[in-house]
């Protein structure tokens, strides 16, 4: 037996046809995820739905921002929320308390949401009735940067307790984001945080990034965020 292919060495030499050969593939390593993300994006476009992928470190205030946003914009915009965490349904319970449809995705050992999880996660939502789908990704500034979910924008949340150099330490994420929310600015008087330096670092990584300073605790800057949401949701409808 030939050790390479299992053909009989007794056979005629010309029957040994499988010569080593090269096959061109030229596919992105994320091709499978990207194909599913394209499918999600087409569905979202058909439903005229604005989709945001919220990314940040754990504890930056993503869920608190969502809670306040969903409550303040009640009656103005219809939301659905996908919550990604490794474990627990704690965040989904907090969102459910606002009355907005929510679905929790637990990734287990996984460190990010992918397009496949999102495609199934939205099955129970009434997308026609929804203006904005908020996807709260797993708290992690590394892996979620590479996985397209089919969203319109990645929104990176950075809280000022994390330090101003986060955009430099995790540049891929801040490069992938269209908007950065600098949260917890009510704590500025108590911390040694250089706001202008932080914004300069973010623009160094991503010259086009939009920045909103806010505190979902005090309410500062929230109106600017709401105006941005309304503007983007309207753009998606036209």
């Amino acid at each position: 037996m030939c050790i390479d292919c299992g053909c009989s060495t007794q056979a005629q030499p010309d029957q040994h046809q499988h010569e080593p050969r090269t096959v061109r593939i030229e596919e992105d390593l994320l091709a499978k995820n990207n194909r599913l993300a394209v499918g999600n994006r087409q569905l979202f476009a058909a439903k005229q739905l604005l989709v945001l992928n919220l990314v940040s470190s754990p504890g930056s205030g993503k869920t608190s921002i969502l809670e306040r946003t969903l409550t303040d914009l009640q009656g103005e915009l219809n939301f659905s929320v996908l919550e990604g965490d490794q474990q627990t349904a704690n965040d989904a319970d907090r969102i459910a308390a606002t009355g907005v449809p929510v679905k929790q995705i637990n990734t287990g050992a996984g460190c990010h949401l992918d397009a496949h999880m999102v495609g199934h996660g939205i099955e129970s939502f009434n997308l026609v009735e929804t203006d904005i789908l908020m996807i709260e990704n797993v708290g992690n500034l590394v892996c979620p940067a590479s996985f397209d979910l089919g969203e319109d924008h990645k929104v990176a949340v950075l809280s000022i307790t994390e330090g101003e150099d986060k955009p430099l330490k995790y540049p891929l994420m801040f490069q992938a984001a269209d908007l950065m929310l600098i949260n917890k600015i009510d704590l500025l008087p108590h911390l040694d945080f250089d706001l202008e330096q932080c914004k300069a670092f973010a623009r160094q990584v991503n010259p086009q990034i939009q920045i909103i300073e806010m505190s979902c605790h005090s309410g500062a800057g929230m109106q600017q965020w709401y105006d941005w949401l309304v503007q983007e949701a309207n753009r998606k409808r036209n």
Partner: protein, 120 residues
Amino acid sequence: MFTKGCALHELSLTQNIVDLAIEHAAREEAKKILSITLEIGALSGVVAEAVEFAFDICSTGTLAEGADLKIRHIIGKGRCLDCHKEAAIKTLTHVCPHCGSLALETVQGQEMKFTEMEID
């Protein structure tokens, strides 16, 4: 060395590589995958060593088991939005060596590509 989060990230990417390789090998009626060539950019966020480590795990028991994993490293290149010149960059937070501007747009180095494979 890599962190747990990082290894997981590369693990799912590597699983995609192996799935793709097996899919193409089946279409070509190959008996064995001899080698797999990837292009990984210096700015892609992918750790080549973690892919190599994950490849052994993901390929075990498949047509790709034992295949030679060849990784072609692509250097980073940026274009300055102010002076419009190009420069080699090692990180996403580089300063333009020509004019000192911080506004550099990445033009090369973010590749994560499965380019080709050899089959028998």
